[in-house]
Each structure stands twice: as C-alpha cells, then as structure tokens.
Amino acid sequence: MGIRIVKLPDVGEGVAEAELVEWHVEVGQSVLEDQLLAAVMTDKATVEIPSPVAGTVIALGGEVGGVLAVGAELVRLEVAGEGDQEVAAAPREAAAPSTPPAAAPAPSPTPVKPPAAKATEAPPAEPRPVARGFLGPPRPAGEKPIASPAVRRRARDSGVDLRQVRGSGPAGRITHDDLDAFLRGGPQPSGLRARVANTGVETVKVIGLRRRIAQAMADSKRRVAHFSYVEEIDVTALEDLRATLNAAGRPDRPRLTLMPFLMHALVRAVADFPEMNALYDDEAETIERHGGVHIGIATQTDSGLMVPVVRHCETRSLWDCAAEIRRLAEAARDGRATRAELTGSTITITSLGALGGIVTTPVINRPEVAIIGVNKEVVRPVWQDGRFVPRTMMNLSSSFDHRVIDGYVAARFVQRIKALLETPATLFIEE
C-alpha cells in the first residue's frame, strides 16, 4: 500500500487559490478513479475535482469554507501499489459535460468497495424540513423529554428538537429507534396540538457563493458613493411592439421579454454617455471606458446571485440578446457557467421580474459605475390630453457611482433611455 497526495490543481487562469465549498468524500471512504472528491469555487464558478486514482481517503486538506492554494494538498489517499508520486487532479470544469460514471472499476485483486451512499448524517447547516415543526408536541407542554445522553447528543447533531419526538420506551423514553424513525420523517401522530416556543438557534456558516456575494456587496457599498435615480417610463408602445413580435412566433426565435429592448436602449444610450460604460479603478484613479457593451444580467440561482455577462451587445440583434440571456441564465442556474461567462461586464441590469416592486436601490457591480434596475410594469390611469387613459407604466431604479458620475449626467442618461423605450421605433433607426 502507498500514499498518494492529490493536490489542488490549477482551476482557472491566474487563480492562486480556491474556496472549498463541498466535500464529496470523507475520511475512511473508498473512492474510485474519477469519483468526485470535492467542489471548489473560484470567483463565481464552481469546479469539481475528481480523483485521479482509486484508493481510500485518509485525510482531507481542509474544511468547507476554507481557502486552499493551488498546489496545496487536497486529499491524501491510500492506494494499492506504489504511491509516493504526488499528483494534481484534473479539475472537472463546471461547464464540461459530465461523463457517465464508469460502469465498473477495472478488475483488481482487491476490488475497491464502491462508495457508500453519501453519509447519512445531515450536514449541520442543513435545516430540517419545515413540515415537522408543525407537528404537535408528543408530550404535555413544559415536560422534558426523556432520553439517554447518547440519544440527546444525536438529536442535537441532527438538529432535532426532542420535544417533537414521540418516545416508545418506558415512561415515554425516546430511544435511538424513535429518533431514527423521526429522522426518516415517518408520520408522527398529531396528538396534542399545543404550540411550543421554538428556542432553536441555527448558525449557518457564510461560505461559497454567498460569501462571495456578501464580500462583493459590502465592498461595493463601502467603496462606491452610491446614489440612485428613479424615473417612470411609459412602456405601452414597447409592450405593443413586443406583443406583435412575439405573436409572429417564429419557432427559430426565442420569445422576447423586456430585457433585450432595454439592452438595445443601453447600447444606444452609452454611445452618447460613454462614461457610463466604464470601469473605475479607484486605486489607480483611472476610468476605463469600453467600446464594447458587455451587459451583466443579475440572475437568481439556487445558491445565490450570479451575474452572467452578455458580451458585445452592440453587435447583437434583439433575438441574439434574448437567446444569449436564456443560455447564460440556464448555465448559471445549473452551475455550468464558466469563469469567462461570469466576468467582464461593463454595465449591469438587475430585474426582479414580476416581483420588481415600485422602487429599488440597486448595488453597483463594482468596478462598474452604473446599474439599471427594472421595476414591475403596472397599468395605471395617466392624465393625457384632458382625460385619464390606461397606460402601462414601469419604473427604472438606477444607481451610479457619484465619485465619477454627476447627478445631472445620470439624469440625462436615464432620460435618454426613457426616450428610447417610450418611442421604441427610435431603437432601430440607424443614424
């Protein structure tokens, strides 16, 4: 038997370190070649690290939430045969198509035990399914549950409030089996439905994408002099145009949302206001104005906010924009978006869709200097030509970096976008 040390491979261009976001193995577990060892995160892309060899895990190189340098020891494996060679595992890029698992390990004198199903123990941060909290307590209010210290410890480890667990033992004592049954989520007779004060406190470590988001947001708010500007826009004509285009329903074209039109308006507006499509390096005190309009689209995913980038919008048609947004949003939600697809924006749009609210105060995607927030559309009576008429109205809430953008310029920029969206034909007039 020998020892093989699997090192953290170079997971992305120029990245010196990566955060450990998930272990797929634990000490003592047997792994097959190509079986996933861990997931690490660089910028916003998650990269999975497969094992280069079969063996038994004897040590892990860190804890979830920790940061490992490229080349640092990720996993120590005990392997059959010689093992002194240290190897770097090939990263499995998140975007790469996942290869089907090998049908069977290569036959060997001592077949490697297939990995056990992922540890049954729930990770501490995982909240219990909510439904259980609504079950009535299995004993009168105020009465302490009876359970041995070992059962109490297990319950605490798995986040179970023993007051919710029915005990089958003498005097209602809760046994290990009762706890197992509860953890399996077996039906609990409802019994008394007295409400029990929930005094539980759960500490959830801020790691991975959430940590990145938290750092980026705090950084942006701390360093950028935000100011927000809200303007209402009459999108009645734009909605008519959108409905007409969508009604044509060509199968080779995606359905249009408001977003591609707004992107078009941005491309037009930044041509007149190049200071908006810019990155501010506040340490070097320089502003990089970009010719290409690379629009970041703030996207909600299961793990948190990501900002995939539609590059070179100045070259794209409405439908190109729509298709690219869709492709990137899906990739981001599936965790397949690459580093390149998540970086390099020059201005950002954020939209909460139907939840858009009346006004928002978007946080600038630093080092950009402007962000355009889309609020929800509402049909409202508007006083026009001596009478009320129903119009589809929508607010744009936009934030700017006041260090380099003056309020007057920001207002004119938004007025330009407003003019373009209110008379959508102008979006398409070549000058």
Binding site: P124, K144, I146, A147, S148, P149, R152, R153, R156, D157, G159, G169, P170, A171, G172, R173
Partner: protein, 468 residues
Amino acid sequence: MADIAAKVLVVGGGPGGYVCAIRAGQLGLDVVLVEQGGPNGGLGGTCLNVGCIPSKALIHVADAYHNAVKQSASTPFGLKVEHPAIDLLRAVEWKDAIVGRLTGGVGALLKRHRVKIVHGRAEMVDGKTCRVETDTGPQVVRAEHVVLATGSEAAPLAALPFGGKVISSTEALSLQTVPERLVVVGAGYIGLELGTAYAKLGAKVTVIEAEDRILPAYDAELARPVAKHLRALGVEVLTRARAAGLSDDKGALLIDQEGTTRRSIAADRVLVATGRRARLTGFGLERLDLTTNGAFVQVDERCATSMRNVWAVGDLAGEPMLAHRAMAQGVVVAEVIAGHRRVFDGAAIPAVCFTDPEIVTVGLSPEDARRAGRAVHVASFPFQANGRALTLGAEDGFVRVTARADNHLVLGIAAVGAGVSELAAAFSLALEMGARLEDIGGTIHAHPTLGEAFHEASLRALGEALHV
C-alpha cells in the same frame, strides 16, 4: 514579548478551564490557558489545590486517626490499638504530595494536547485580548474565543474578616497543628466536612449556624444521621446563631443566638465557611460588560455569555458550584467552539457531601417533586438491613428513591451513609438514562454491597421489597 494569537483562550486552570482546554486541544484547536499560579502552579484550581482533593485527604487522615483512637478503647470486634498519635505536619505533607501529583498530571495532560500555558495574572483588555502579567513581563494573548473560568473564592463575613485567628477553608487545609478549640461558622457542607475532620483529630469543635438546623441545603431526613454523629463526636452545634465578631482580646467568638443574650465562645481558630462567591473582579471582566445574573455571569445553555465568542464555565457561571459541573461545561464549550452542536443539558448534577456519614443526592427531593406538582412514590431502605453496611460497622443511613407515581420514572435519588459517595455514579446514570423503578429493580446488584440498598429502595417503592 511577542503577542500570542490563538483560537481559544482559557482564563483559569481549574476543573472548568483545564478540562475545556484539554478537550479543545483534542479537537485540534489552538489553545492558550492562563493560570495565575499559587503554591502548586495553580493548575487544578480550587478543587485540586484548596478544595475537593486536599479536604478529602485531610478527612481520610482524621478518620484513620479517629478509628485508631476508638480502637484503643474497645471495638465491637475485638481490635486493640495502643497509644495512637497524629503528626499533622506529616499528614499535611502527604496531602501536599497528592495535590502535587494531581496538578502535575493536569500540566502533563495539557501539554499532551498541545495547550500552551501562560502563568500569570490575566487582565482582559477586551473580548478578544488578554494581558497577562508574567514573571518575565507582560504578555498579550489574542484569541478568537475566550473562555472565562475564574472560579470562586471563600466569602468573608463582614463581622469576621479573614486574618489572624479567622481562617477560610484554604488555611484550614494547611494548619500546622490541631487547634485546641475550633469554632466553625456555617454548617454547610464545607464547614461540617472540616469541622468533623478536626473534631476527629482531637479539636473541641463548635459549629454555629444561622438556620435552624445543619446542612440547610439538604432535606432534614438526610441531615439527621449527620447530626447524630456530630453529637457522638462531641461537636457542639448552635443553630439560629450568628457570629457578631471577635471578643476584644481576640480570644473568643461573640455570637448572637435567638432567644439568648450575646455570649462568647473561646476559640483558637475561627473557620468561616458561610459560602463562596464567584470571582468576577480582578481580571478586567468589568471591561467586558457582561450581563450578570445575581453575583454570577449569565450564560445560556451553551455557556455563552452576552458577548459573542466569550464563554463562561464553572463557579463564576452560577450554582451549583461543583467541580464536575464545571468540567461538563468545559467540554460543552470546547465542542461548541469546534463547531459541534452541544448544550449543557445534563438531566441531573450529583452533589456529594463528605461529612460523617456521607450524603449524596441526585435529581429532585420528594418535596421538590411535590412542589413541582407531581404525585410521587418515595421509598427508602435503611443500611441497618444491609449486610455490607453491618460488616463495615456503619449501619446508620439509608438510600431513598423518589419516582413519579404514574409511570415510575425515577426523579431523584439520595443516600446518607458511610461510603455512599461511591454510589453517586449509579444514581446519576439511572437518572440520566431515564430509568424507571422497574429498571433498577430489574438490575442485578452485586451482593454484599451498599448498592443493594438502592435496589431494595426501588423495589420497596414498587411494593416488592424483599429485605424489609
């Protein structure tokens, strides 16, 4: 000196602090323990240096001497011992050797778990920084987590400040000679343990107590055999009496007893054992502005104080001030810091009183249970009917079991008798596991042992006693 940075800083090397440090070390945390020293380096705190261990050593010496003296007269079984004598200095040396072995052992355990020990007085600068005055100058320790384990100290009486003839339990454990006349103020467990020991070593002991009986923290039934033995030893117990100060010539203690005029009791030493108070000052704790609960630092079930990442264990975190409670809390805090979900949730904390005879209690007394609105079965079994007790010549005392009447769940167990402290383990385990009377009745107890009385008391509560 360069600052030390650590994950965990433990202030105080008593049972709470050192156990927390060892457990944290086992869990791979980087730990610094600050201990302000003392004759044995201070590790082990009150328990090892001036509490549990030396007092039990002294009690053992006193018992051995007392038995020898009794046996020089006559024994029921015919042993004869001629002219026993006691060399208290030699006994104190023996006691100190035991303490030295144990404190040395604590030091070795800490070292084995890579705990860094800084000797000196700690002064908290803020919730993460501590300045330690060491022999070689100030040392700053910065830590992510601070565990306060500063313990407690003997509380003086305003009328009887410590000094001269007036001593605390600490001095009482290192006397060079047996005082001729010892007055003990306070008939709680500390006063009675030491008072009994000195009575057995030949002192004329008077105990004064403000309440109307000895051991007011225990129920009267348990205190009764102890009172009987004190009488047999010639210890005078004055209840409803308060110490008013020393007489002008310092030769006697003035006391005010209900219903009588002030009187004086001649004393060579006055041992004040009226209680202990949490040590909350002298460490800069006031700078942390922690929420307090009476005279203690307030902690939640994880031993967390009102300040994030500042924890408190042991005596300064409240009653009962017992070493084993502090140790259990120390383990909880170390595991919480290491990221485990833990709370201090023991079903019962046993309490032992090393008087003659010994008392042990776990869980609720019958009165406690009734006050909580429970219908209970209570049964006791006397050691008079226990074979082993008779062969030890120790027939006083009993084991008493209190259980719920409806489902027989055991709520409390108490015993008084020679050597019953060793039954504490069985009692605690029964409560912790949620035993019913039938569980204890169904457990085979070794014969002949004192533990059979526990078995019989449980059977008796079920109406199935075999030996009464």
